[in-house]
Subunit: 339 residues, 2 copies
């Protein structure tokens, strides 16, 4: 193991100064074509590549973005990670991944660790940050984007879909389908997505003069959603429709209804979800849901991050993207609602 080639070695071989080597490898720096050629030649022969960490030290830019993520078993997040990583890669950044701890209090530690790596920005997916933490990030000059989670406070940006509107659309759809006993399976109660989707859903139901007749908590988890479905549906007077707060839970609900309780979906019960993960379109589920575009959310996230990093723009931005209803066979489809 011979250690890495250094800029100084390249400089010596090319017969120029270390500064010259640096300039040739720094886009936009001034170097004559003649010098550049000599340097590039020597670098090639020696197999030289600049040490990004050293560059980061002096420039103060690590070109790393910290990503804090939970719920990787929910298909939405792998998609987000893939797209985020690709979009960032295209801009010369890379993602340093941190799994969010189960205990909310431990999240602060992890954010500190992320900061220790001198990342240029942070994306926090589906986690809440204490205001103390967002303050620390602000002091450190590290922009933070909350992804798929909103939160009060004003020193960070947030990108979500319009969860209230999405919830309302689902309510209107179920009401139009003639349902009169509508249930709701909640996500994690502290999550803004859970609260907003439920708020919009209830608003839509109440607008039609109805009430939600049953409510259980599934905490965005497969097993807990299945339990919730059992409690809600293993009884004669069960609802005739249910909104599971995300697709990931809706799949568990559909499986319980069909394979444990012998109920037909959508014959006996209409099921709808939220996210439109790839699975939702698979025939086995064919789930009616609200599309939350990972593509668009990631694009907004990257745009905000890069703007804040490269233009020192300190203005936090809140984005709530509208998501269309995807009407599919897991629910009774009212006349004229087919998409």
């Amino acid at each position: 193991m011979k250690s890495r080639v250094t800029a100084l070695e390249v400089a010596e071989r090319a017969g120029v100064s270390q500064s010259a080597v640096s300039r040739v490898f720094t886009p936009g720096a001034s170097a004559s074509e003649k010098t550049a050629a000599k340097v590039r030649r020597a670098a090639m022969e020696l197999g030289y590549r600049p040490n990004i960490l050293a560059r980061a030290m002096v420039s103060g830019k690590s070109r790393m973005i910290g990503l804090l993520v939970a719920y990787l078993n929910n298909q939405f997040y792998p998609e987000v990670l893939e797209k985020l990583s690709n979009a960032l890669q295209a801009k010369g950044y890379h993602v340093l991944v941190f799994m969010a701890p189960q205990i909310a209090g431990d999240i602060d530690h992890v954010i500190q660790e992320i900061l220790d790596y001198q990342v240029d920005g942070i994306v926090a997916a589906s986690v809440a940050l204490s205001s103390e933490l967002t303050n620390r990030c602000e002091e450190a000059g590290v922009p933070v984007v909350l992804f798929n989670r909103a939160q009060s406070g004003d020193n960070f940006s947030a990108v979500t879909s319009d969860n209230v509107s999405g919830g309302r659309k689902l309510a209107e759809f179920l009401v139009a389908g003639g349902h009169e006993k509508i249930g709701y399976i909640a996500g994690w109660e502290d999550a803004s997505t859970q609260r907003d989707r439920e708020f919009g859903f209830r608003a839509g139901i109440e607008m039609a003069g109805q009430q939600i007749v049953a409510r259980e908590v599934g905490n965005f988890a497969h097993l807990q959603a299945a339990e919730a479905a059992r409690r809600m549906f293993d009884r004669p007077d069960h609802p005739d429709a249910v909104f599971a707060c995300n697709d990931h839970m809706a799949f568990a609900v559909m499986d319980v209804l069909r394979f444990e309780l012998g109920l037909s979906v959508p014959g006996d019960v209409s099921v709808v979800g939220y996210d439109d993960v790839p699975n939702a379109a698979w025939p086995a589920y064919n789930l009616t849901t609200v599309r939350q575009s990972a593509n668009r959310m990631v694009a907004e996230t990257v745009a905000i991050l890069v703007d804040q990093i490269e233009n020192q723009n300190k203005e936090p931005r809140r984005i709530a993207l509208d998501g269309p209803l995807k009407v599919r066979g897991s629910a009774r489809i009212p006349e004229g609602w087919k998409t």
Copy 2:
């Protein structure tokens, strides 16, 4: 944005030298309890945390592991990423993620980028590396572990399941189930997992005096697997059983059989897969498969990596973990095979 607190500032406030501060924050370094107390106090008051990048420069250890990954839409990989990240986090390392480009030739560039970040090790999941690249990594003293892919060459480690044995088990299972027209849907032909699983599967089939009667290529992709299923089954003399080279493809195959071609699974056709991703156990699919334990594979990967990094152990290791057959309802179950 006030810039970060430095060790020197802490030293001044604590009335000690910069070296003393460094020692207090370096596990195992010698500092008196008295000094340590003063330093810790000053650090706390100032909100000091060591700059990991600066530490990395002088120590030569970045505590970052580069992960090159493709196929994030295959549920196996999010699970791997989550577990790998957690296991590494527990050892004080973190994962820098790079998405593998579609074009095989571009993979070399990406590995170079990974190396530029001075990672302490590399995990390449489901991608092949040119021997030139593994040589570069070796020269740079960066251990490489191929994950879920084997390859000839001798300067890197590899962790897989025993794909040959797994393929054979599936063949024996299908033969025992009385199937006489067995088909195979291949993954990406260049992948060692594809080759090994097919090899084992064929061996098992031939051991029973049979031959594979149909073969199509699904390239490990959902859409292409669906196409492959259509070609194979949209005809009267279709196979009575099929092995899709991974679960991700098997789901697509099952959906096509049931919802497009009106075939019953397992009534008309038995379907088996490989991986045992979470979805496989869901009632909608209930897929018979070979368990490839992300947990165990990740544990081996981390053990190898950490050993090579921390003990300068240069010995490459190849691990092929045995995976049990998970017998489930997507296939006709022979007497006594229920697990």
